[in-house]
C-alpha cells in the first residue's frame, strides 16, 4: 500500500513517514505543492495525506486541481485550521476526511484504515480476541466461556476496542466515536477513565492474561501480545 504524504514541515514529515513505514505502508514524501502534484499525476498511490498550509500552491488548490483531472485516490487532509468553514471548504474541494493538527498518531492510522477499506464493509457480527468473545447481535460478552455483565456504555467501549484490536485507540477516537462528543473536555476525559477502569475490572482483573493496556501518553490498546 502506497501513501503520498504532502507535508512541508521536515520534522513532522519524517516522524509521520517513520510511523507509517513501521505500520508497513510504503510512504513517499513531497515537501511542496508542485512536487505533490507531479508525483500524484505520475505515480499510483492508494492514499494522499495532504497538509493544507504549504509554501507555493496551497493544499486546497492542489486538491481541486487533482480532482479536476479525475484523480480518484482517497485524500485525508491534515490542517492546523479547524473552523467549520475550513472544514467545509476542504470537503468541498474533494477531501474524503479531515484531521486537525495536532492529532494523535493512532487516530491517523485509524482514519487511514477507514479510508482505504471504505466500501469493503467491516461490520462483523462477532469479534474474538484470545478467549474474549463479543457478539454484536445479542450484545453478549464472554471470557473463558464465562458471561460478563457489561453496562451498555461498557459494551460499546469494548466493541470499539475489539474493532480496533491490535491498534492503539486514542482518547480523541473514544470521544468522537463512542461518546459522540464534538470536543474533548476534562469532564469527558474523566468519564472515559472511569469507564476504562470499570471495563478492565470486569474483563481483565479476574484473569491471568491482561488484554487491555494503557499506552502512556498515547491511548489504549486491546491486544493479545504482552509488552
Amino acid at each position: 500500500m502506497r501513501i503520498l504524504l504532502v507535508e512541508d514541515e521536515v520534522k513532522v514529515a519524517r516522524a509521520l513517514r517513520e510511523g507509517l513505514e513501521a505500520e508497513s505502508y510504503e510512504t513517499v514524501v513531497a515537501n511542496n505543492g508542485e512536487e505533490a502534484f507531479f508525483l500524484a499525476t505520475t505515480q499510483p498511490f492508494d492514499l494522499l495525506l495532504l497538509d493544507l498550509m504549504l509554501p507555493g500552491r496551497s493544499g486546497l488548490e492542489i486538491l481541486a486541481a487533482l480532482r479536476q483531472r479525475g484523480f480518484q485516490t482517497p485524500v485525508l487532509v491534515l490542517t492546523a485550521k479547524d473552523s467549520v468553514e475550513d472544514r467545509v471548504q476542504g470537503l468541498d474541494s474533494g477531501a474524503d476526511d479531515y484531521l486537525v493538527k495536532p492529532f494523535a498518531f493512532p487516530e491517523l492510522l485509524a482514519r487511514i484504515r477507514a479510508l482505504t477499506r471504505r466500501g469493503r464493509g467491516d461490520q462483523a457480527a462477532r469479534w474474538k480476541l484470545a478467549d474474549l468473545d463479543l457478539d454484536c447481535a445479542t450484545r453478549k460478552v464472554t471470557r473463558h466461556q464465562q458471561e460478563i455483565d457489561l453496562t451498555p456504555k461498557e459494551f460499546d467501549l469494548l466493541e470499539f476496542f475489539m474493532r480496533h484490536q491490535g491498534h492503539i485507540v486514542s482518547r480523541e477516537m473514544l470521544t468522537r466515536d463512542v461518546w459522540q462528543a464534538t470536543a474533548r473536555a476534562t469532564p469527558l476525559d474523566n468519564v472515559i477513565d472511569v469507564h476504562i477502569a470499570r471495563l478492565r475490572k470486569k474483563i481483565d482483573d479476574p484473569y491471568e492474561k491482561k488484554l487491555l493496556r494503557t499506552i502512556r501518553g498515547v491511548g489504549f490498546l486491546l491486544s493479545e501480545e504482552e509488552e
Binding site: 479547524d82 473536555a185 476534562t186 474523566n190 472511569v194 470499570r198 502512556r216 501518553g217
Partner: protein
Amino acid sequence: MSLRPLSIRARLTIWYAGVLLFILACLSAGVYVVLQASLERTLRAQLDRDIQTVATVVGASPHGAGPYGHLPGDILFAVTRDGRLVYHSNAWCRTRCLHGAEIEPVDASGVWRSPKGVDYKIKAAPLWVNGQGFSVTVAEDTSLLEGTLRDLLVILLLSIPCAALLSIAGGYFLAGRALSPISAMASKAWEISAESLSERLPVRNPNDELGRMATVFNQTLARLEASFERLRAFAANTSHELRTPLTAMRSVGEVALRRPLDAASARDTIGSMLEEVDRLTQLVERLLGLARAESAKTQLPREEVDLAQMASSVSELVRVLAEEKAQQISVDVREPATIRGESSSLRQALTNLVDNAIRYTPAHGHIKVGVGHAPDGRRIIEVEDNGPGIAPGEQNRIFDRFYRANNDGHSRGQGTGLGLAIARNAVEANGGRLEYRNAIEGGSIFCMSFPA
C-alpha cells in the same frame, strides 16, 4: 481636481459671513427702494402743490401780466391757452435760457432731460378760470432726489464689503473660540495610547455639549482600559499555564538523557512527555474555543433545546464520576422548559457545571440538576450541590479564566481553570445568563437562565 474639505472653522466663518452679507444686502435693497418711493411721492406732492399755487395766482389775475406775463417765485411753471404761452415764471424763463431748450416732457413718466443733463419732473393739468380753459405745466428739479439716492448707494456699497470683512474676521475668531476645546481634546486624545490608557480628558462642564462628549470619550477609555487589563492578565495567565507543561516536558526529557535508557524507561519518559503534550493541546484547544465563542457571539445557529432532556443526558454522562465519589446525582424537572439555542455549546456548559459540582463536593454528597421557570418567567436550569459553597470573596472571580477556587482537599486537581469561563461564555452566546448563589443549607447553586 478635488477640493480639500475645509476645516469646520473655515466653514463656520464662511457661513457667518455669507448669512450676514445676505441680510445686509436684503436690508440695503429694502432701504433704497423704500427711500426712492418716498422721495418720488414727495416730489409728486410738491408738483401737485405747485399746480395749486399757480391756479390760485392765475385765478387772481387772469390777464394781469399780459401774454408773456412774468410771475415771481421759484416755482417753475408755464400757463398756456390754446397752445400759446400766457404766463411763465421767472425761474421757468431762466431755466429755459440756462439749458437752451424748451421745457417739455419727453417720455411717458413725465421727465424732461435738459441738454445739460439735468432731469426735471414735469406735470401738466387743465385749469379753468372764469370760464376760460388754460393748461398749467409745472416742473421740479429731480437732481436733489437723485443725489440723495446716489449718496445712499455709495454709503451702502462701501459699508457692505467692510461689514463682510469684519464678519469674516469676527466669525473666524468666534469659531476658533468655540472650537478650541475640541482641538484641545483632540490633541489630548492623540497623546493617549495603549500605554497611557489611565489618562482622561479634562471635563470643564459635564452638562454642555463638549463636556458630554468628553465624558463619553472618558467612559470609552475606561472600558478600553478595563479590557486591556483583562487581556494583560489573560496573557500572563496563559503563558503561565503553557509554561507548566512545557517545563515538565523539558525536565523529563533532559533528565532522561542524562542516564542510559533501556526500552522500558524510554517508553516511560516519552509517555510522560506525551501526557504533557496532551495537556498543552487541550489547553490550546480550549483557549481557541473561548476566543472563537467570543468573536462569534451572535452567529450561533439556533434550534429548540429541551432543558429537561439535556439535564438528564448530561447527568447520565457524568454519573460514573459521581459514583466514584459515592455521590448522588438527581434530576428535578419542576416544569418542562424549552429554549432556542445551540445545543452542543449548552451541553458543554452544563457538563462543566455538573463536573465542577462533583469535583468540589465531598464524598457522599448530593448534586441536583433542576429545570423550571423562574418567577419572572425565564427558563432556568440550575446545578445545586451540598458541598462547602464558595466564600463571598471568591464569588466574583470564579468565572475568570484560570481561576481555581482555593478549596483544598476536595479538588481532583485536574481542571484547567477554564470550565466555568467556558460555561459562562457558552450561556451568554446563547442569550442567557449564568449566575452563582449560595444554597440556603450550604453548598453552591449555579443557575443558567434564558429568556422565555
